[in-house]
């Protein structure tokens, strides 16, 4: 009798839809607030949001972020304010994806996205540089650095409306 009971359970499950996903061909949808790999955002006009203030680096509990700042000029403009990040690097081996950098950012320049598939065969590959982190230039906008009319960007931190 027990034998039949056991087989009944087995056969019941054979007919059920399997829960196993064929990763990586198939992927589960992410929660909206999942914290994956970082993105450096741009404004709609293509300028970088990051002002190189290094508050993300200061907030980082894993000491994974390295920022070096430099000054914008109207001939070589990266961001709307006075200052931009000349070097921006995140060591993904150190990063614990806590999102403190996102919280610390005064311009919402850094955001944690949904990418999570990061594997490295070399420690150096784990260091994501600014070019790897920054979003592509929006369609129709100019890239950075760019030359702008003098007198347009005079504020230290831009009052520009958020692109979102």
């Amino acid at each position: 009798m027990n034998l039949i009971k056991g087989f009944a359970t087995t056969f019941k499950h054979v007919l059920e839809e399997p829960v196993t996903l064929q990763y990586p061909e198939q992927m589960k949808p992410f929660a909206e607030r999942f914290k994956g790999r970082h993105h450096l955002r741009r404004y709609d006009n293509g300028l970088e949001k990051c002002i190189g203030c290094a508050l993300c680096a200061a907030a980082c509990p894993a000491d994974a972020i390295w920022v070096e700042a430099a000054e914008n000029s109207d001939e070589q403009r990266f961001s709307p304010g006075e200052r931009y990040a000349k070097t921006y690097e995140i060591n993904m081996l150190r990063c614990i994806f806590c999102g403190y950098c996102e919280d610390a950012c005064p311009t919402q320049a850094i955001e944690l996205g949904h990418e999570h598939q990061m594997s490295f065969t070399d420690r150096r590959d784990a260091i994501y540089t600014k070019t790897m982190l920054i979003d592509p230039v929006p369609e129709g906008a100019d890239g950075t650095p760019r030359e702008v009319e003098p007198g347009v960007f005079t504020r230290a931190i831009p009052d520009m409306p958020d692109a979102k």
């Binding site: 203030c53 200061a58 070096e68 700042a69 000054e71 304010g81 200052r83 000349k86 504020r155």
Partner: protein, 847 residues
């Protein structure tokens, strides 16, 4: 200022927040609350080194005094038997109050808290919120005090803030952000009161009040960087550091200024940098407090001149010439070549060392030369000769120039202190403000003379006198002061304390030695030796001019080496061929020149072996400053290329020559010095790095008060006692000096010093280039007429060993003399008074 207390200070009782303190009468309330009661009264406009003005209203406190009966003078008691306090009806600014008996202060009441909150809210109504990108963010008094005392939220509309210019260059070195300025006037007052270059001012009124510079070029002073330190907000920032790093990201390494005899204590702010190969580099140079040496200030040369430490022009590989060309070699081969050359000299080895080399290097070099049987150790440049007299009758133990004041006197002879040792000029000018009698003697006008002749500053009468002597007659002018200028002599003789600064401006070595002896005699005759705040100082070039003397290097020997060149000459961190046009001649007579150099230069082109050394930033060491204070500097930056500290090169060569085991650290070398040189007996590194509490307290939590000058964690240094400190000294004979004579049609060129110049070490600091003078020669109007020259003419100045093309300027100099600044032209110019001829160069007329 009467903090810290001395034995004779009158003490009064002051009650702060219900606790009684014994404090010096007349001390500032903010200072004493901090020093004695550990009570930080917040301030923006008040600074312990500046006169109080009570402008920012941040320091308001409740103030009262204990009531006394008018007739009996007894304290009036209330019903509980406690003394009755008469309170001011309104709050008072603490910074404008001085301690008096029976003073009662409350800083912890609701009224005080509310006022602090209101003042901050008011300041923030027009202050931008760009702290994330502000260079001051993180060490900003406004930020800190807002967090501590400010309102929790703003009642103002953010978009309604004042918008002013954010990027105003005040000169080439300092940027002004008009929005951030809170109008405390610290910078204006620093320039007016302390420096005496009144180049900043307020413009317009009310909310539009702003800082402007009134000089051309803008912010024309040698001390501009200090205003960025004392600015309580990020309104003034340096062009050098701008956005270089955040303050919390940097590591502070204590160091000593590598430029002049003052030995300013500095702090090197280090951070790793991608552009420097991911290694630590100097991001900025900040002052480090040493109340005996530089207080809280450094000169702009020290602050902005650090770029040579990582210059691409630096020597990074040893070079040896096997035929006629220097080629890069490994250290092994370079050592081998050096050992072979030294062994082949059969004892005819001599050394010349510059003033920027550390004591450890000098000791190893001396051991090397003496170990080989040589004895000649020369100091470069051979112009300043009085180091032995500074060792004898130099300023006494515990001298502090900031204690000079009313009743004291200062004599500055043959020195342009502003250009030679800016910090001494700042502190001595300050002493004059406090009432010291300043006498300046020179053959030409100098900045210090302007101060001596000024009769009033900041609404206070100041006293001084100027003596002009004929060129080259400095020693006679001082020896004959008693007969020729009795008034001045009497005032110097009768002064409570007398400090004499004697240099070599417009003199050769003999002239300088005679002058130093005359000054020493003056001090001995008038009994101004062997006690604190009395004695002799000399602006010997380089940070270690006195170290050269104590370790046995003299300019006389340099002259001997020049006259009788040795077989092998070691030139250690000196650039004779860059300084002196005649050096090429005697250098070529030496068989083998071995140089220990930072840069490839004219001298290294005469060398067969060139060994790259490390700069002050890359290594440990000690310097002896002009007040004979031995001070220690620490390793901050990684080495550049293959460069090695000079002591290490020398100790390795010594080992290879069989002179014992090589030493492993600078500390070990210093330990050996302490055992062998008496005056250094106490100077172990451990002792040199000791620190005591200093007034005013700065740094850390006290940023709001003293600015961003750094707390001293590297040591105050130890002063070597002068001979007069430990016993009697006798006056010596002043040698008569043979004056340089010029025949008709010739002039005598007096070499003068410019602080900003085109020397190899200063050139890599590109930011300051704009401030380096166009090469010029100054001559009297009569000579200019004779030669048919007018201001701005291009002239060729020819002298023994070369010629330079410079602009002629007509100025207040004696006839027959031309002032020719050193290190402004690419070619060397004379280092001692020299006969020159001037010829005008016709220029094409521009259409």
């Amino acid at each position: 200022m009467a903090i810290p207390v001395k034995d004779d200070t009158k003490l009064v009782t002051v009650k702060i927040d219900d606790k009684e303190y014994q404090v010096p009468a007349g001390a500032n309330l903010v200072d004493l609350a901090k020093w004695y009661a550990d009570n930080d009264i917040p301030v923006f406009c008040y600074h312990p080194k500046l006169e109080p003005v009570g402008m920012c209203r941040m320091c308001l406190v409740e103030l009262g005094s204990i009531m006394r009966d008018r007739e009996t003078g007894d304290v009036v008691l209330d019903d509980n038997g406690e003394p009755t306090v008469r309170w001011f009806p309104k709050l008072q600014t603490a910074c404008t109050q001085t301690a008096s008996d029976g003073m009662v202060v409350r800083t912890n009441t609701e009224a005080v808290d509310e006022t602090r909150e209101n003042v901050l809210e008011f300041l923030l109504t027009s202050h931008p919120l760009d702290c994330p990108i502000c260079d001051k963010g993180g060490e900003c008094p406004l930020q800190n005090l807002t967090m501590e005392h400010g309102p929790q939220e703003s009642r103002m509309i953010y978009s309604d803030k004042m918008h002013l210019q954010k990027h105003v260059p005040l000169g080439d070195l300092i940027f002004l952000d008009r929005e951030r300025c809170i109008q405390c006037a610290r910078c204006v007052r620093f320039q007016d009161e302390l420096v005496g270059d009144a180049v900043l001012g307020f413009h317009e009124r009310g909310r539009r009040l702003q800082i402007i510079t009134s000089s051309d070029p803008g912010f024309d002073t040698y001390f501009s960087g200090n205003t960025t330190d004392i600015c309580p907000v990020g309104a003034l920032t340096t062009a050098d550091f701008r956005f270089g790093a955040r303050p919390w990201e940097m590591t502070e390494i204590p160091s000593i200024s590598p430029w002049d005899a003052a030995g300013e204590n500095i702090s090197l702010s280090m951070r790793l940098d991608r552009d420097f190969g991911g290694r630590a580099m100097i991001k900025r140079v900040m002052p480090r407090q040493n109340e005996y040496v530089n207080e809280l200030w450094i000169s702009d040369k020290t602050r902005f001149g650090h770029h040579f430490t990582r210059s691409l022009d630096r020597l990074v590989e040893p070079m040896v010439s096997f035929g006629d060309k220097l080629t890069d070699q490994s250290w092994n081969d370079a050592y081998k070549a050096a050992v072979t050359a030294l062994e082949g000299a059969s004892g005819d080895v001599a050394a010349i060392a510059g003033g920027a080399i550390s004591n450890e290097d000098l000791w190893e070099l001396r051991q090397l030369v003496e170990g080989l049987g040589g004895s000649r150790l020369g100091a470069w440049p051979p112009t300043h000769g009085g180091a032995d007299l500074v060792a004898e009758v130099g300023v006494g133990q515990d001298t502090n120039l900031k204690e000079l004041g009313a009743g004291d006197a200062i004599l500055v002879v043959a020195s342009d202190l502003e250009e030679e040792v800016p910090i001494w000029r700042l502190r001595l000018k300050r002493a004059q403000d406090r009432g010291a009698y300043l006498v300046v003697a020179n053959a030409r006008p100098t900045r210090m003379e302007e101060f001596a002749l000024d009769t009033q500053r900041n609404d206070k009468p100041v006293e001084g006198a100027a003596v002009r002597y004929a060129p080259g007659e400095a020693a006679a002018a001082i020896s004959d002061l008693k007969s020729s200028n009795k008034d001045v002599y009497d005032r110097l003789a009768d002064a409570t304390n007398l400090v004499v600064v004697a240099g070599a401006d417009g003199l050769d070595l003999d002239g300088n030695k005679a002058l130093m002896q005359a000054c020493a005699n003056l001090l001995i005759e008038t009994d101004h030796v062997g006690k604190a705040n009395n004695g002799l100082m000399s602006p010997i070039p380089g940070p270690n001019g006195m170290g050269l003397h104590y370790l046995g290097y003299t300019p006389e020997v340099t002259q001997d080496i020049v006259a009788n060149p040795p077989k092998v000459l070691i030139v250690a961190q000196a650039e004779p061929a860059e300084d002196d046009p005649t050096a090429t001649e005697w250098l070529s007579k030496v068989d083998t020149v071995i140089t220990l150099s930072l840069f490839p230069d004219r001298t290294t082109s005469y060398a067969s072996i060139v060994l790259p050394i490390q700069s002050f930033a890359e290594r440990d060491g000690t310097f002896v400053n002009g007040e004979r204070r031995v001070q220690r500097f620490y390793t901050a930056q990684g080495p550049l290329g293959e460069a090695v500290p000079a002591w290490k090169i020398l100790t390795t060569i010594r080992e290879k020559l069989g002179q014992g085991r090589a030493k492993l650290s600078a500390a070990a070398v210093m330990l050996e010095i302490t055992k062998n040189v008496d005056v250094f007996a106490e100077m172990r590194y451990k002792n040199l790095s000791q620190v005591t509490r200093q007034f005013p307290e700065i740094g850390g939590d006290d940023l709001y008060y003293g600015g961003t000058a750094y707390q001293n964690r590297g040591g105050l240094g130890i002063q070597i006692p002068s001979a007069a400190d430990s016993g009697k000294v006798k006056a010596g004979k002043v040698a008569s000096v043979k004056a340089t004579k010029a025949s008709k049609g010739e002039l005598i060129a007096l070499p003068i010093t410019e602080l900003y110049n085109r020397s190899n070490a200063f050139m890599p600091s590109g930011l300051v280039h704009a401030r380096v003078a166009v090469p010029y020669v100054t001559l009297s109007s009569s000579d200019a007429d004779d030669l048919g020259l007018v201001d701005g003419d291009l002239v060729e100045v020819s002298f023994e060993g070369g010629a330079v093309r410079v602009r002629a300027t007509v100025g207040d100099v004696p006839a027959g003399v031309a002032l020719l600044p050193q290190h402004l032209t690419d070619e060397p110019t004379p280092i001692v008074p020299t006969v020159v001829t001037l010829s005008k160069i016709a220029q094409p007329v521009l259409a």
